[in-house]
Amino acid sequence: MKKFMNTSDDFLKESLQGFGAAHQDIVSVYYDPNFITRSQSTKEGKVALISGGGSGHEPMHGGLVGHGMLDAACPGFVFSSPTPDQMLAAAEKVDSGAGVLFIVKNYSGDVMNFQMASEMMQSPNESVLTNDDVAVEDSSFTTGRRGVAATVLVEKIVGSLAEHGGSLQECKSLGDKVNKNSGSMGVAFSSCTVPAAGKPTFELGFDEMEFGVGIHGEPGRRRDKIKPAQDITNELLEAIIEDLKPNSNEEMLLFINGMGGTPLTELYLVFDNAKKFLDSKNIKISRSLVGNYCTSLEMQGASITLTKLDEEIVKHWDSKVHTAAMRWGM
């Protein structure tokens, strides 16, 4: 395993320390229990947004803490959900009386830990559960679908509404809507290596890819031979479109997300290929995002997310934001 690390035990802590030191103007980092808040306290009457999840997906969620987005993030160990004490400590710090909205990716561990925190909390709180990964079949009898890259979009859009004075219920509703309007699917060219494990989570042949991979290296729909980018892009988009069923001429946001080990150059190429395909389907891309936002350690690969837009979503997407990883308008 080749990583910039000293020991796997210190990996998370040192990374958090570096993050905190590099972005003192935006965030404060707390330890034992670990959580990240904005460097300025929540203004009175503003709903506090808290997300969290296993580490290894940076910049999500710590890099998304700041004006117009999250109030706090709770990083678990690498790929392990955080624990209720982290969420409670974070909530205590950032709750200004208007309630707390938890943004939770749909994994058993995350869901259960956030639920326990929610039950232990005295103050009003709600949760938005993201489950945008169309690689997995949805069903109310099972855990359902995974929450992946659309979580970033939910955090941006709901973050703006909270900043503009939206109530806890309004924030939850908008979060649920953005999640429902979104579909994602990813593909991996290489595995990632969890520091504590020291070896790759899975093995891929030199000419293989994992189609529909999860953000922890969970197996996807199938293992496939590697293909031209246009073919991969088309197949990902077909799966997403089949799920979202957009109308012709529907306006959408196209998000090309890198898994951590794929450079921007390739992500822009995927964006190009995606646009060609979507143009041919009369789907209008009126907003976009390209970059490494919801990653899987050093995994090579990318995911595509499409989100149906309406006036409210566009307004809150465009509004200003100031976090370590996403910043515009200020």
Binding site: S108, A197, E218
Partner: protein, 209 residues
């Protein structure tokens, strides 16, 4: 059941889990995200480190401290589930007045019921519940029918193993493995394996006495 008993069991469990670490790691890599073994190992270590803090405490307080440590120190599904197990056991009625076999089985069963509520998974969904629920049932049955405790525990070891093995051919509907659909078939659930090993360890150590 005493605080001392709990700590000693944790130490025995540590040995057994460490001996099966690679196997458990591989199971979670195949149908999960690979962290289950580290979660479990970290949890056990934290519980053992609690010894000086809890050894003089009444068992309800000790169990509660263990629960909090497990809950805050593990993370992931197993942290929430094992945390719930101990939190519920800590709330058992009158346990500070002594915990005999009957009481121990009672609070364990209450704990398993709470875990079932927490994870919303029942038998047959390819999780640790395929071990925990049958074991709780077997223990309760045995004690209600006044059977010999060694016999009951011996049966529980077998039930745990059967439950664990049964997960192999199941389709997962809860937990991370549920994302795999058919591809999860043919693999034993990591949480079922670690729970089964813990139960086996505890039961056999008690039988030995």
């Amino acid at each position: 059941m005493s605080v001392n008993f709990l700590i000693n069991q944790a130490k025995l469990i540590q040995e057994v889990i460490d001996a099966h670490a690679l196997e458990i790691e591989k199971l979670d890599q195949e149908i999960g995200d690979g962290d289950h073994i580290f979660n479990v190992q970290r949890g056990i270590k934290l519980v053992i480190e609690l010894e000086p803090t809890i050894k003089e405490l009444p068992i309800s307080k000790a169990l509660n401290q263990i629960a909090m440590k497990v809950l805050s120190g593990i993370g992931g599904s197993s942290g929430a589930l094992f945390g719930t197990l101990f939190m519920t056991m800590a709330k058992g009625e009158n346990i500070d007045e002594g915990v005999d076999y009957k009481k121990a089985i009672e609070i364990f069963s209450l704990g398993v019921e709470a875990v079932k509520q927490r994870g919303k998974a029942d038998v047959g969904e390819k999780t640790m519940m395929d071990v925990l629920i049958p074991v709780a049932n077997c223990l309760q049955d045995g004690i209600q029918n006044n059977r010999d405790i060694n016999e009951i525990l011996t049966e529980a070891v077998q039930v745990a193993e059967d439950g664990m093995l049964s997960t192999k051919d199941l389709l997962a509907t809860k937990g991370r493995a549920s994302f795999l659909g058919e591809r999860a078939k043919g693999h034993i659930d990591p949480g079922a394996r670690s729970s089964q090993l813990m139960i086996k360890t505890v039961c056999e150590s008690v039988i030995k006495k």
